[in-house]
Amino acid sequence: MTAAAERVRPRPASAPATGSRRRPAARLVRILRTHAGRLTLAVAAGVAAELATLALMATAAWLIARAAQQPPLAALSLAIVGVRAFATSRGAFRYAERLAGHDAALRALATLRGQLYDALVPLAPSGLPAYRGADLLSRMVSDVEAVQDLVVRVLVPVGTALAVAAVAVGFSTVLLPSAGAVLAAGLVLAALVVPLVTLAAARRNARLLAPARAELSARNVDLLEGSADLAVLGGTADALSAADAAARRLARVERRAALSSAAGTATAMLVQGATTVLVTVVAMGAAADGTLEPVLVPVVALTALISFEPMMPMVGAVHRLLESRAALGRILAVLDTPAPVGEPVSPRPAPGRDVTVELDALHVRYPDAPSDAVDGVDLRLGPGTRVAMVGVSGSGKSTLLAAMMRFIEPSAGQIRLNGHDVREFAGDDVRAAISGVTQDAHLFHTTIRENLLLAAPEAGDEQVRAALATARLLDWVDSLPSGLDTVVGASGAQVSGGQRQRLALARALLGDPPVVLLDEPTEGLDPDTADELVADLLASTRGRSAVLVTHRLDGLDGVDEIVVLDAGRVVQRGTHRDLVARPGPYQDLWWSAHPGDE
């Protein structure tokens, strides 16, 4: 075994994920374990609040029943104090329960966010499909918030309901064991049957609704995205009536589903009613044969009636559980996703300023893809040389850069850094040497200065301003009221597409890596802006090692080599002067952009 091979760990992509088949509930319990104390507190406060209600009604019932026997007032004074105390404490306990429950939920959320971030670090951007669409990414983030729901609306209410049931059964048993037994039977029935009925209905209805929903969605998309095609072909009316029919079909299924989905609450109420009547019968029987004081009959009966109240939210809890379990499953799947790129056990020292990059028959294939995204590319990039990669979108340019930055593992071939396999270096060391403007360069929601300092945390304002000047942004930044302290990003100041890309360029220039990668930032820019930007990119990289990915060809006469990619393969390479003179894809691209120069 060569020294090089020893440094490289086996490819983790093929390594089995440990614990991925574990049940989501068990995984969640492990995450929540650190917050068990606060959760117990929340449940305890919830139980106290419910018991206060129970005690309020039971005491009041006893007070009234006892008063009817016209005892001296002193016999009632304790009960009167009790009624007032329970009435006041109930609200306080409920308040405490809500606060403790939300606190525990938010702490669990913080824990899970931290874990998710740690898991995402080695996955971004190639190891996760979510990084191919902003919608998926925000869904993943809101999935984490499902945990909050799970704690506040499922764990705490269910825990409370069960604890209250236990206390009510215990209390009734002390007064009258047979009543306790009946109540226990009723509560167990409710705790088992209600969720089961709800669950069965939800499952059945989901099965019925899913195809109707899918059809409606397909019809809607056809009309919303194909409206021009339909209008011109005269198919709008037909498509509209098909969509109407789909909406009606869904409504029909929904109406049918309503019959069973309403069953949960009704079942709970039936069990509650039957139990209360039975407990009353048992208590009356006991009072008649003298085993129970008649005054306690209303107490036992009302205890039964009220101990069911916390069971009622179980129906909603089951629905929440079903929803958040799916979300939790998606999050756990992310946590279990293996890193697409392995790190060496004992990395080689970082390469210096002079870096030579060589790609040797490089192949990259995404998992589950039918063909290679990069299909046998050779390239040599010595110090100070500039290479441009040209090709239509999807031709493999960005994947090639991702492989050079160690975001994705080659499936065959090799990338060498100063003659050594790139896998022998630590990933961060490789990216310190080869970096720049990635395809999805992100502008963080913070100040312009902070956004730039990301690339060079120690840089001073002078260096920041110099980088902005090279990216031709300094005048704009100086014109802003807050200058470098202007907050940009998601909900920050309005930044045009061109300015956004120039900020990313300035950041890359400030970072000053030995090899600058510039993935074409012209998507969504108007042609004039894009032309200016590409010209500035080329100007700013003069004299540096750089790889430029573009599909605009103006100004490429200055680079040392142009590589034309198609479907992951190099179909042409040479200088602009060579390529534009030869019939082939480059010439076609050139002509299609300059039809007037024929």
């Binding site: 009632l76 409920r94 397909a218 009966a301």
Partner: protein, 580 residues
């Protein structure tokens, strides 16, 4: 139903109070109370049944409302047209129309019925208690209004205090998404590990900021609960004391005790139901925004059709070459367009899109005679696609005249022509857009859109001419293979060839193409180019072209720049135009 519910609550309380009062006073055996207990059991079952009916009814109402809202919004989007839709986030709109509408359920099944319950039940209970014991009814009457009053007061106070913290909360909540979305960038600069601590810090700050908001927000619930429970205590203790004095009988006292909490429950529930339905109201707002969007069209008073003489004049403008029919229909019927001639005349046509200061087209004039092959060239943003949109009747120009002559005579597309006239014009043209939309239906149905009456034979023939047959027959169910949303399952080149098959089947005298080879790989492109050339033969063609091959096939080139005709090779040397 709310009234029936109220009645059952009253009867239940009365029966239970009666049974319990008897039990305390006389200690009868359960047998003696059987009728009362049976009635009680029936009432309890009745309440459960009523709750079920009420939920079923409200869910059915919700389903009906959602279906009608979906229908109205969808119809409205089509009235607003492709031009309006192109400015919308159609994916989000589709979600709103699909799962988004389900957020309306809590409103219809929770808040809406609760409104009636809140209106009926407390009143019924107070009346019943007043009949039984006026003093208790007065206590409830005095304390009950405290619930809405405190609810509103505390609600307003919390709104003020939370609004101040809201932006901070939003920022902290959004920070995680920001960092996750920016992870590739953080990794590119080796800063990903350093930010892990920031993620935890932000989550913790988010927690403490949220908690300080919640501490205030939950106060409103606390006040409402206190009002409700203290009121029960306020009722129970005097009732007990008056029992002691013999002023009240036990039955009445228990009845009051059982009914008092029920009086407060509906209004407290109303508050939480309202919060649960806010998301649904937002969805409804989005739907209403679509319904309220105005259709941008020129004034209807200018609606007119050209007189026949004008139409004839234009119809005879060019030399007419009837389109040849490579796949003439076997039944000998004419194509949907008939055997008319196609002439297009733009006169000073200007188009401005809302929100843009530069016009997309600025006084564009040209005439296209039947049989001509015209290529539109120019840099992107010059207005080429807008010319096509005007020609297709998708974008009404702000100024000028667009005289088009189809089988049904001449129409001015700029003068808000009647729907039937536009349809007649469109029936005589075939269109292959840059990115054709394929529908979630079978491949055959997608091709047949070009000519709904076509036989299977004709569909296959059109597919063969478009080089589509070769990959369609390789699909699992051939022409009956059902495609996914947006034609999922086919590559861009394959989708383009299905669109070409559509155009072959349509067999219209005028063909409009928008860069049919844009974004295709080399092999697909060659096939599309060849099929396109075959399709163009014998027809009038307007093609937006970038590829030199497409430009070379045209016998006339119109060059657009900044929304104006920069050059037109009509009657002159086309090389001069191309070189401009």
């Amino acid at each position: 139903m709310a009234a029936a519910g109220a009645a059952l609550i009253l009867v239940q309380a009365d029966l239970l109070a009666g049974a319990l009062a008897d039990a305390v006073v006389d200690s009868p055996s359960p047998g003696e109370l059987r009728p009362v207990l049976t009635a009680l059991a029936l009432v309890l079952a009745g309440r459960a049944g009523l709750a079920w009916c009420q939920q079923v009814a409200s869910q059915r109402a919700a389903a009906a409302v959602k279906a009608s809202l979906r229908r109205r919004v969808l119809h409205r989007t089509q009235e607003l047209g492709p031009q309006w839709l192109s400015g919308q986030h159609t994916g989000r709109l589709a979600t709103t129309l699909g799962r988004g509408m389900d957020a309306l359920d809590p409103y219809f099944t929770g808040y809406f019925p609760q409104l009636f319950v809140a209106a009926v039940v407390p009143v019924a209970i107070i009346v019943q208690i007043a009949v039984a014991d006026l003093a208790s009814a007065v206590i409830i009457c005095v304390t009950l209004p405290l619930i809405p009053v405190f609810g509103v007061l505390v609600g307003l106070q919390t709104k003020r205090s939370t609004r101040r913290q809201w932006s901070a909360l939003e920022r902290l909540g959004g920070q995680f998404l920001d960092l996750v979305a920016g992870l590739p960038t953080l990794r590119a600069f080796g800063r990903a590990q350093a930010q892990a601590a920031a993620v935890r810090r932000a989550a913790d700050e988010h927690r403490s900021a949220t908690m300080s908001t919640l501490r205030v927000a939950f106060l409103s619930a606390l006040v409402l609960e206190l009002v409700a429970t203290l009121s029960v205590a306020l009722v129970a203790v005097p009732v007990g004391l008056r029992l002691l004095d013999g002023e009240l009988d036990l039955h009445t006292a228990l009845l009051v005790l059982l009914l008092a909490p029920e009086a407060y429950l509906p209004w407290r529930a109303l508050g939480s139901q309202f919060h649960a339905s806010t998301e649904g109201l937002e969805v409804a707002e989005r739907a209403f925004a679509v319904l309220d969007s105005p259709v941008v069209r020129p004034d209807d008073s200018s609606l007119r059709r050209l007189s026949p003489s004008v139409a004839e004049k234009h119809a005879t403008d060019g030399s007419l070459t009837p389109a040849s029919r490579p796949d003439a229909r076997p039944d000998g019927s004419s194509s949907p367009a008939g055997d008319g001639v196609s002439v297009v005349r733009f006169e000073g046509v200007s188009v401005s899109y809302p929100g843009r200061n530069v016009p997309a087209l600025d006084a564009v004039s040209f005439t296209i005679g039947a049989g001509e092959h015209v290529a539109l060239v120019g840099p992107s943003g010059a207005g080429k696609t807008t010319v096509l949109s005007v020609l297709l009747g998708l974008v009404p120009p702000g100024a000028g005249r667009v005289l088009v002559t189809g089988a049904d005579g001449a129409v001015d597309l700029a003068a808000a022509p009647p729907e039937a006239a536009v349809r007649g014009w469109r029936d005589g043209l075939a269109w292959v857009p840059q990115r054709p939309h394929l529908f979630a239906d079978s491949v055959a149905a997608n091709i047949r859109l070009g000519y709904p009456g076509a036989t299977d034979e004709q569909v296959c023939h059109a597919a063969r001419l478009a080089h589509a047959d070769e990959f369609v027959t390789a699909l699992p169910h051939g022409y009956d293979t059902v495609l996914g949303e947006r034609g999922a399952g086919l590559s861009a080149g394959q989708r383009q060839r299905v669109a070409l098959a559509r155009a072959f089947l349509r067999d219209a005298p005028l063909l409009i193409l928008d860069e049919p080879t844009a974004g295709l790989d080399a092999t697909s492109e060659a096939k599309v180019v060849e099929a396109t050339a075959r399709l163009m033969a014998g027809r009038t063609v307007v093609v937006v072209a970038h590829r030199p091959a497409m430009v070379a096939d045209a016998d006339r080139v119109i060059r657009l720049e900044h929304g104006r005709v920069a050059a037109d090779s009509a009657g002159g040397a086309r090389t001069a135009v191309v070189a401009t």
